[in-house]
């Protein structure tokens, strides 16, 4: 932690009921960080989708597992980490839900929404102990909500060393 940042950390039981808890924390932290209401909602939605991925896909809805969240408020950005105890996924293999052939698919929009609402998104597999998603939103970036990611997006997969 650097002197110009503050950190909020919470570990939640892997239960869908806790998605709303994470949303509430996110709204408060994003407000404290200086984001306006629209941006707070977008950040909240990104965390919502990350929590769903962590609980449902990562932890396989196993209530004995947990999800760890960290919010780091910097002067110029909010950095959010969501860590589960699952086996990870490769976001580069998720097709664009806006393509004609995917438009009527029932699933496959969660990661797309995270990429749309946040400035950076990356996924890291943690030596088989879980998956950590990092999302960054910059303050006053002046960039309108993009759709599905840009060249500023970084993804890392299986970065074990």
């Amino acid at each position: 932690m650097t002197p110009d940042s503050s950190v909020v950390e919470v570990t939640l039981e892997s239960d869908l009921k806790n998605v709303e808890v994470a949303e509430e924390i996110t709204r408060r932290v994003a407000g404290t960080a200086g984001f306006d209401e629209d941006e707070q909602q977008r950040i909240e939605m990104a965390v919502h989708e990350s929590m769903i991925n962590a609980i449902w896909h990562g932890n396989q809805n196993d209530g004995s597992k947990s999800v760890w969240l960290q919010f780091k408020i910097h002067n110029d950005r909010l950095e959010i980490r969501v860590r589960d105890q699952g086996h990870g996924f490769d976001p580069s293999h998720i097709p664009d839900p806006r393509n004609d052939e995917n438009l009527l698919n029932v699933s496959g929009r969660g990661i797309f929404l995270i990429r749309t609402f946040m400035d950076e998104f990356r996924v890291e597999n943690l030596n088989g102990t879980g998956t950590e998603v990092t999302m960054i939103k910059r303050l006053n970036s002046g960039i309108p909500t993009k759709q599905g990611g840009t060249d500023r997006e970084h993804e890392s997969h299986n970065t074990t060393s």
């Binding site: 909602q41 939605m45 009527l104 698919n105 029932v106 699933s107 969660g110």
Partner: protein, 119 residues
């Protein structure tokens, strides 16, 4: 607050006033069962009034798509009424706004079903 739905019949159209959260878990399951129930009663003209939907996530959007395709396959039509800004924006971002028939006026929305049927 989980999802709640009130069903009313207006002419040949089943209007479903949805409120609360359409999210993975209870909200999506309730919506799925509601659509299935209406189709089993041969109510195939469905108008979902989403004015009081406070939250919808990617799973909820997927559930709307599933409902749309399910009703269409049965020869019916599912239309949307009174989108909140949040839902409207999400449908725009996901390019689904052009897939759904979206209305802001209930009477016109109900009238549009008979037009579709006679077209």
């Amino acid at each position: 607050m989980s999802m709640k739905a009130t069903i009313r019949q207006v002419d040949s159209v089943t209007v479903v006033d949805v409120s609360g959260r359409i999210t993975l878990g209870e909200g999506c399951t309730q919506l799925r069962e509601l659509i299935r129930d209406q189709l089993s009663k041969q109510n195939k003209n469905l108008l979902l009034n989403l004015a009081d939907v406070t939250y919808i996530d990617s799973s909820g959007i997927g559930e709307l798509v599933s409902a749309f395709t399910g009703v269409s396959k049965q020869g019916g039509a599912l239309k949307l009424l009174n989108l909140t800004k949040k839902v409207h924006d999400l449908l725009q971002i996901t390019k689904l706004y052009t897939v759904f028939d979206v209305h802001e006026d209930e009477a016109k929305a109900i009238g549009s079903f008979s037009k579709s049927a006679s077209a």
